[in-house]
């Protein structure tokens, strides 16, 4: 194709996005669009499956059968999200094996929040409440993103996540209405998960490299800082309902702006974790790589079996 032809296609492409039309896998798309989407969707998929680990840590120890079943179902939903996000990504011409390879080699990222340990049962509540809460704020706008398969996946993901978020809040509420010890456990979880949750909304706009292009492609509809503010404004009143305190001495309602002012985020910690040096980065990656490597013979067997069945059919037919 000539440069002019490409330019032309690009203009048509951008106009379609402008008109809120969905881009589908078979449509022509700029290479950068494809690459950006592979990066973002796979990162999102990786976050789902790495995200299974900190919560999975409490399945065997959940304090009641009802909570155990709900937690299992939640972690299973995350596997499901992973599954449709990988599928959406595969429509862009990349295989799941390649994507896993990128995750395991450290080339692809996943949400840093999952590099923190879950050390008490209240952490399961806090993750649902805060982490899923922040995820929803990040993801709801993506239900209208330009790439069709991603947008459709997000509709389903968001629906389930808001269920998870209510479930997490309910765990916190039960703790906060429980004994002193339980309430302290809830407070402790909020203390530990608050700041990492704020970091989940991404670096400040000044430090964010992908924002402008992403806005154009509707991969982003608000900046990180806007999303963060929205999260805080929504979450602080919920903490009030719970009767526990957000661990930020600078947090206070600003009548003028109609928003909460808040203290400074420890961006050094953020970058340390992103760069692979968080509390659990090694464990998480080891768990994923082990599962994948230990499962190789199983996947091989399934494939060999399918081939054998196929040849049997062919033999019968002929």
């Amino acid at each position: 194709m000539s440069e002019k032809e490409i330019k032309n296609l690009e203009q048509i492409f951008e106009a379609r996005i402008e008109r809120d039309e969905k881009i589908e896998p078979k449509d022509w798309m700029p290479e950068k669009y494809r690459q950006t989407h592979i990066r973002q969707i796979s990162q999102h998929a990786h976050s789902e499956i790495v995200g299974m680990l900190p919560e999975g840590n409490w399945i065997t120890r959940a304090p009641s059968l009802r909570r155990k079943a709900a937690l299992l179902a939640k972690v299973q939903d995350e596997a499901g999200h992973g599954l449709y996000l990988y599928s959406a990504c595969e429509t862009l011409g990349v295989s799941r094996e390649e994507l896993y390879e990128q995750l395991h080699s450290g080339k692809a990222k996943y949400s840093s929040i999952f590099n923190y340990p879950t050390i008490t049962w209240a952490d399961i509540g806090a993750i649902g409440w805060l982490v899923d809460g922040a995820a929803i704020i990040n993801q709801v706008p993506l239900c209208n993103t330009s790439f069709g398969p991603y947008a459709r996946a997000m509709v389903r993901v968001c629906k389930e996540e808001s269920f998870h978020q209510r479930q997490g809040f309910e765990i916190m509420l039960t703790l906060c209405r429980g004994t002193e010890e339980q309430k302290a456990m809830a407070q402790d979880a909020l203390n530990r998960w608050w700041w990492p949750s704020l970091m989940m909304l991404g670096p400040t706009d000044a430090a964010s490299v992908h924002t402008e292009q992403s806005l154009k492609w509707k991969l982003k509809r608000k900046t990180n800082d806007e999303l963060r503010q929205q999260f805080i404004d929504q979450t602080v009143p919920q903490a009030d309902i719970l009767g526990i305190t957000v661990p930020d001495p600078d947090l206070k309602w600003n009548e003028e702006t109609g928003h909460y002012d808040f203290g400074e985020i420890d961006w050094d910690e953020f970058w340390q974790v992103v760069k692979g040096h968080g509390p659990c980065n090694k464990e998480r990656m080891k768990a994923r790589v082990d599962a994948w490597e230990n499962g190789a013979w199983v996947r091989d067997a399934a494939m060999a079996y399918a081939e054998k069945q196929q040849s049997k059919k062919v033999a019968k037919a002929s």
Partner: protein, 251 residues
């Protein structure tokens, strides 16, 4: 039939589901791919769902335990009545599948009969469970074949698992005193009657999977009398951790 007999009869059923579900729960997030991870979690969810129905009923009959969670979490190791098979570890995926399949075939036959129990609650639970259990058996049976036939390595691993777990199959059909009383009362299932069908069906599937039935004529038992393998204590230490550490609270 006496309340205690019925109570004990229910535990004899439900403890299998609880402990097998617990073993599957350990795996969640660590499966060989997302699809099997999701499917095994589904099975775990079914098992826990059934467990809850059984224990809710048991709690109504118990003088000591008031809720399903009391029954699930507050007993001592010697009071759990599950068979030894379900507490065996997730050594590798072959063991997970073999354990599941060897249990599922039994469980299907069992639940099928339990539908006709005179006890309406048990019959209702069984009627709800039969579809789930039928799916479990299909899933695990398919995987037995897949791994048995798949590659040389998978065949060896699957055979290793069958060899390791076979000694626990016979216990599934052991009739305890509680079983005898329950059968006589028209409530329980006569396990001895399921045995032949079980071993015939398993033999057929293993044959199709190009796997051999171990010739060992010796079997282990004890679970139904609460004499478990050394794995059980560690399962319970995790299972009961929060309830034991923070007693008498609502979660």
């Amino acid at each position: 039939m006496e309340k205690t007999t019925l109570y004990n009869y229910i535990l004899g059923i439900a403890d299998n589901n609880l402990i097998l579900g617990q073993r599957l729960g350990e795996l969640c997030g660590h499966g060989p791919n997302l699809e099997t991870d999701i499917a095994l979690t589904n099975i775990a969810l079914d098992l826990f769902g059934q467990t809850r129905s059984y224990y809710q009923y048991a709690a109504k009959l118990s003088a000591i335990y008031k809720t399903e969670d009391d029954v699930a979490y507050l007993r001592k190791e010697r009071e759990y009545k599950n068979v030894l098979l379900v507490e065996q570890p997730n050594t590798h995926f072959g063991f997970v599948i073999a354990r599941q399949y060897l249990f599922d075939v039994f469980n299907y036959l069992f639940v099928e009969k339990l539908q006709h129990s005179k006890d309406e609650t048990l019959s209702a639970i069984a009627k709800k469970a039969i579809k789930e259990v039928s799916y479990h058996k299909r899933f695990s049976g398919d995987w037995v074949k897949r791994l048995g036939v798949g590659t040389e390595e998978s065949n060896q691993k699957m055979q290793e698992a069958i060899d390791g777990l076979w000694q626990y199959t016979n216990e599934l059909f052991e009739m305890t005193e509680v079983d005898d009383l329950s059968v006589r009362g028209g409530i329980g299932v006569n396990l001895s009657e399921l045995k032949e069908t079980y071993f015939k069906e398993v033999a057929e599937v293993l044959k199709e999977a190009t796997l051999t039935i171990p010739e060992n004529p010796y079997f282990q038992k004890g679970g139904k009398q609460g004499i478990h393998t050394e794995h059980m204590g560690y399962i319970l230490a995790d299972l009961q951790y929060i309830q034991r550490t923070y007693p008498n609270m609502t979660w």
